[in-house]
Assembly symmetry: C2
Homo-oligomer: 243 residues x 2
DNA sequence: CGGTATGTTGACAGTGATCAAGAAAGGTGG
DNA sequence: CCACCTTTCTTGATCACTGTCAACATACCG
């Protein structure tokens, strides 16, 4: 990835854009997402001072390719981002989804180990890694901000690695609960990403994801208004599935 | 976990102690493990200034329980540590193993989300989290050291989450290669942890771990001197399994 | 030497993947 | 606004990998 100048457009995105419902949610959440604590306000100001963008990405377009130099770190203002790795046999694993306000792409290596892609239409801020490090060296609050972001991501991945070797039903239930928390809608979730993305994230086939959702619906743990709109009607029962 | 005063001993540990072979390896690696770069020497000195211990733990003894207050962060001087979660149905998932020199147990939450246990006899240093944060607030190098430790752990868990939904053969091969790198033995690995630990880490049954190792041996990718001593005779072929 | 913990191997079952077909939703162009 | 097309999702049938149960082997230890 070189300099950031133009808005990249994907090849042929003429699809439903459920991202917009997330967008309206995210628009209001963005300023608050950054300002988690009063003590971090200065840090955030300092961090935001070196932002570039935002740049608009269309759904399924690539922000960073595996092996690209890790010069930049990112934050979505709007939309959902996925970090993933493609394997030789054509399969793909999505290590994490990122919601607006989360930093992602931070690493101590020279190259990004994972591709970073827009799972929905997205607006992305860029931060030069060297600039962040330079500020962090001067401003303690910024260093602490980076550590907090990194620690938070560590916690999320640990939770994910715990659910990944449980049953399909448990994985899906856990994912839905997690998603509902992270995009803080009430009970109704408008799934921002495709079933294929969910499958690749949970290590399941797309068919199993579909079947499992159907099964949860039959058991009256959730309801479906449409394929992408899920209502968590019985959150307590979903939580019980997790043990 | 309260104050650190005495060496805790496990209930009935009268087993083979393959940890000793690792110990001899780790003894020499510890001073170097900390001093990764010259620029970090000052940070390390500052960090080590607030250490407590080391305290000796016997194999399978618990250092921290799930839900214990997260007042301390740890580093093994010697031995292998596992961080894990027990589920209601009696199964267990090991999120990560830690080798001597690695920080672990860092979190931004008030409680440890995972149990921390000695996978072999181990010598553990303790660091009060509040003390580390206080030093980090004064000394930039320490803040950067914490960030580096956290980022490194993030990278390892990401790699683990990538191998966790691949085939059993691929998981085991990847684990052996990773282990051989981390304990920097040559080609011969003296597995420090039990097959049960490996199984719980890879999300496999103990039987599948055993069968897969046998299979790798039949395919002449590895050799076994004993159940716990494995020689990576064909590292290139193992790497090919990973894709 | 005997007892316990750990590892190995076999038989069978179950969860989830794969293959295949059809349904639903969304966008496009007339 | 409607017909058509593409993409996404759903459902069924079958298969394979891995888990479970069981028995045995081996190593370690007192």
């Amino acid at each position: 990835m070189g300099e950031i100048e133009v808005v990249k457009a994907s090849k042929s995105v003429k699809r439903r854009q459920p991202s917009y419902s997330v967008a309206s949610n995210a628009k209001s959440s963005f300023p608050n997402a950054l300002i988690l604590e009063d003590s971090h306000k200065l840090a955030q100001r300092a961090v935001l001072a070196v932002r570039r963008g935002p740049i608009r990405y269309r759904r399924n377009s690539t922000i960073v390719c595996e092996g690209d130099p890790a010069d930049y770190v990112f934050m979505a203002v709007d939309g959902i981002v996925r970090r993933c790795k493609a394997f030789q046999n054509g399969t793909r694993a999505i290590v994490a989804f990122h919601t607006p306000g989360e930093f992602f792409g931070w690493t101590d290596e020279a190259k990004h180990a994972l591709s970073i892609e827009a799972a929905t239409d997205a607006m992305i801020l860029f931060f030069k890694r060297s600039a962040l490090l330079a500020i962090a060296a001067r401003e303690q609050k910024v260093a602490s901000f980076l550590l907090t972001a990194s620690t938070g991501e560590l916690r999320r991945i640990q939770e994910h690695s715990l659910r990944i070797n449980r049953s399909a039903k448990c994985r899906v239930a856990s994912f839905l609960l997690d998603l509902s928390t992270r995009i803080h809608e009430t009970a109704e979730i408008d799934l921002p990403m495709s079933h294929q993305d969910i499958a690749d994230h949970l290590g399941l086939s797309i068919e199993t994801v579909s079947r499992t959702i159907t099964e949860l619906e039959r058991a009256c743990l959730i309801e479906r208004a449409s394929a992408r709109t899920i209502v968590l009607t019985n959150r307590a029962a979903l939580l019980r599935l997790l043990n």
